[in-house]
């Protein structure tokens, strides 16, 4: 087992991150997330959110820049960094022919978790996510919500310090979405760090400690909802009005660079 660095004040530090496909997808991105923070990354389609998260998760190599996760250089020591990270995408990452329990034990095996500990954690997670009655059924008959909950349980089985989620609530019904949100809140309460992209601005508004707005591969604004309102040139007390919502703030902030361009 690799040596894991002790917790640091910053769960994630990104400097000068660049990724080009046909055009720049991520362009000199600077981003810092504190340990224990719930950070929501929002932005229009094609802004570079998923590309950024995939580079953090080690699924994509950046063209330039640095990524440090829990103080570990994720580009120089990817295996060590992956030990403390979990990745959840909008597409459930499961195997149809495995049961949730087998899936969790398999994931635990990949992360080198002791079998006894893995079995105990699996039981807790399955209970927590209301999957216990289906623990020994193959995932092939599961709905999208159940699949996503199995994926989330897999992400938590090795108790990661940093959980990276790309649109985890897409396609979930209200009940499943609520359970996922509860689990994520609980993780931050116990010291975990969440970095999540979402198109549902209400989720970002209600759950995130800080929100980053990304457009054209760059972070154009960042802070609490109040701070973002200030940056958007709005009144700090406009929360009572409809115009003070994150949606209004987001649209104002995203529109400004577009108009400038």
């Amino acid at each position: 087992m690799q040596h894991i660095a002790p917790p640091t004040p910053f769960a994630l530090e990104i400097h000068g991150l660049v990724k080009r496909f046909d055009r720049p997808a991520v362009d000199s991105l600077e981003l810092t997330v504190r340990t224990g923070e719930f950070y929501a990354l929002v932005g229009p389609n094609g802004a570079g959110k998923t590309t950024t998260l995939r580079m953090i998760a080690g699924l994509l190599r950046p063209d330039a820049g640095t990524i440090r996760i829990g103080g570990i250089d994720a580009l120089a020591e990817p295996v060590v960094a992956k030990q403390i990270v979990a990745w959840v995408s909008d597409e459930p990452m499961i195997y149809d022919k495995l049961t949730p329990r087998e899936y969790l034990e398999f994931v635990a095996g990949l992360w080198g978790v002791e079998p006894a500990l893995a079995a105990s954690r699996a039981g807790t997670l399955l209970d927590w996510l209301d999957l216990a009655p289906h623990a020994d059924e193959r995932c092939e008959s599961f709905s999208k919500g159940m699949r996503q909950k199995v994926t989330l349980a897999g992400a938590l089985i090795h108790e990661p310090r940093v959980i990276i989620l790309d649109e985890p609530l897409t396609g979930l019904d209200a009940g499943s979405a609520r359970q996922v949100k509860d689990v994520l809140r609980e993780r931050t309460r116990t010291g975990g760090t969440i970095v999540m992209t979402t198109h549902i601005l209400e989720v970002a508004e209600r759950m995130a400690d800080r929100i980053g707005i990304i457009a054209h591969g760059r972070l154009i604004a960042e802070g609490t909802l109040e701070e973002l309102r200030h940056q958007a040139g709005m009144q700090a007390d406009s929360g009572a009005r409809d115009g003070g919502s994150l949606e209004e703030t987001f649209l104002a902030l995203v529109a400004a660079p577009a108009q400038a361009a």
Binding site: E102, V107, E137
Partner: protein, 511 residues
């Protein structure tokens, strides 16, 4: 010209456009710029096949219409027809189970019977067209050497396509009604593969048991079979006579086949929607429980990956059947092996390369499943394991499965001849490793359910895998007699692998 909306012609235009685009996408692997290369490749293949046809049927184009000729034509047509039935059954099963535009059609106010009728007719057309590239060179040579009468063979192919589709439709619907939607999905594919393989394997088995050779020709030219064949005026020869251009048999065969297809369309088209709706509900219908704790034991990440690959393969009967179907072709060599025990070692000389070839092909399929067919690639890629360990675990899973299947056969050869067993073991290992390497070099992310399409996603990988397996099989065949001479096919196989490596895509893989 656009037909009136909702008519059968309009549906036919719609269907043929979809089929054409699907075929184009399949043949070019979704890259239109490949179309020119593919066209050149197809032309080269057709030209090459004409040379092969010239050598095989050229001398027989003017053969007398006797029992031997009729028997050869009938057997060849029967072989092709079995393959066509198999192909049609696969197409029909896909049409039943693919959700695609079903909701749109059934929710629209048009008469869906017309569309489903057209869809079945399109399957018949597709089945016929699939047979043509292989049959046409032979028919062309027969026409060139034996005269226009052989044009009748094209008529026979069309009739066979229609009859094969009607029969396949009947078989699939019968399975559907007897076993239900869930079982039919799997069984129809297995039955299709069995039908496709059964005839050729059956002929080989009979040839081995009767004449001690794997060659079908020995059986077809035997006096016993000719004596058992019906008289020259029998109606059983009509398909063969149709191929020879005799008008009455040709008309009768065409009329019967189209009548069969028309009946099948009339009976099945009104029920097609119901079948498809029932089939569409299969995915969420039942629950399969698995109580075993496959990962409970302490496993290294590599061990967990290896175990996962084996479990997934074992639990997917469709994939298992697709993969192990290649093992059907091992029945004749196994039979040769059994017969070879009380004779000399000549049989083994034939068995060893067949085993090597089969191992290469099996490993290719398994390697695709393990390396490219990963349903949770992000999960594996984000695990704290070095990429080389992940790959090694997957390769171990593949080679382990191949070893498990071929070990008993090699053990049986050891009893007859340790030298042949050594050659077989080495050949199987090398061919399996080579096919795995090809799949590794050409790896691309795909769902396991796309297994059937793996061969069109990279034609180069398919050819490299096939030629490598052939090369190692030839090496094993020659090595049984002389190690030094075996170097020549071995070098060729290595050249194939080297070329495959050089042209393989350098994808930006993280692991």
């Amino acid at each position: 010209m656009n037909a009136i909306a909702g008519t059968a012609v309009w549906f036919a235009q719609h269907e043929s456009r979809l089929v054409w685009r699907d075929w184009l996408s399949m043949i070019t692997a979704g890259r239109r710029e490949r179309l020119r290369i593919v066209t050149i490749g197809v032309i080269a293949f057709v030209v090459f096949m004409h040379f092969v046809a010239y050598a095989v049927v050229g001398p027989h184009a003017n053969a007398a219409i006797d029992k031997q000729t009729l028997l050869t034509i009938t057997t060849s047509a029967l072989l092709a027809w079995m393959l066509m039935i198999s192909q049609a059954m696969e197409s029909i099963t896909r049409a039943f189970y693919a959700r695609s535009d079903l909701d749109l059609i059934l929710a629209s106010p048009v008469n869906s019977n017309k569309l489903f009728g057209v869809r079945i007719a399109t399957i018949a057309l597709g089945t016929t067209l699939m047979a043509l590239p292989l049959a046409a060179p032979f028919i062309d040579i027969l026409i060139a050497r034996g005269g226009w009468r052989w044009l009748g063979a094209y008529g026979l192919i069309v009739a066979m396509g229609a009859a094969a589709t009607a029969l396949a439709l009947g078989l699939t619907v019968a399975l559907f009604r007897m076993l239900g939607a869930r079982q039919t999905r799997f069984l129809a594919q297995v039955v299709a593969a069995l039908i496709g393989a059964a005839f050729v394997i059956g002929l080989q088995v009979v040839a081995i048991l009767s004449y001690g050779t794997i060659s079908r020709a020995a059986l077809l030219q035997s006096k016993t079979l000719l004596a058992l064949a019906p008289e020259l005026d029998s109606a059983l020869w009509w398909p063969a006579r149709a191929a020879l251009g005799q008008m009455l048999p040709l008309t009768a065969v065409l009329a019967t086949s189209f009548a069969l297809l028309a009946v099948a369309v009339a009976v099945v088209a009104p029920r097609f929607g119901n079948y498809a709706i029932t089939a569409a509900g299969v995915g969420n219908a039942s629950v399969v429980r698995s109580g075993q704790n496959a990962f409970r034991k302490r496993l290294s990440p590599r061990g967990a990956l290896r175990r996962k690959e084996w479990i997934l393969l074992r639990r997917d009967p469709w994939l298992m059947s697709q993969t192990l179907m290649q093992m059907l072709y091992l029945v004749p060599p196994a039979l040769m092996l059994w017969r070879g025990f009380d004779q000399d070692n000549n049989a083994l000389q034939l068995v060893v390369p067949v085993l090597v070839m089969a191992a290469g092909q099996l490993a290719g399929g398994l390697a695709w499943l393990a390396i490219s067919g990963e349903d949770a690639p992000d999960l594996v890629a984000t695990a704290p394991v070095h990429g080389r360990f992940i790959l090694r675990a997957k390769i171990e899973a593949v080679l382990g499965a191949v070893a498990l299947i071929f070990a008993p056969l090699v053990a049986a050869i050891t009893v007859a001849s340790p030298w042949y067993a050594l050659v077989a073991a080495a050949g199987i290992g090398i061919a399996a490793a080579a096919s795995t390497a090809v799949q590794f070099w050409f790896r691309s992310q795909a769902k396991r359910s796309q297994f059937r399409r793996r061969q069109v996603s990279s034609r180069l990988a398919t050819f490299a895998e096939a030629f490598s397996s052939i090369g190692w099989a030839a090496t094993a065949a020659v090595a049984s007699a002389s190690l030094w001479l075996a170097a020549a096919p071995a070098v060729l196989a290595l050249l194939v692998l080297g070329s495959a490596y050089l042209v393989s895509p350098r994808a930006d893989h993280v692991w």
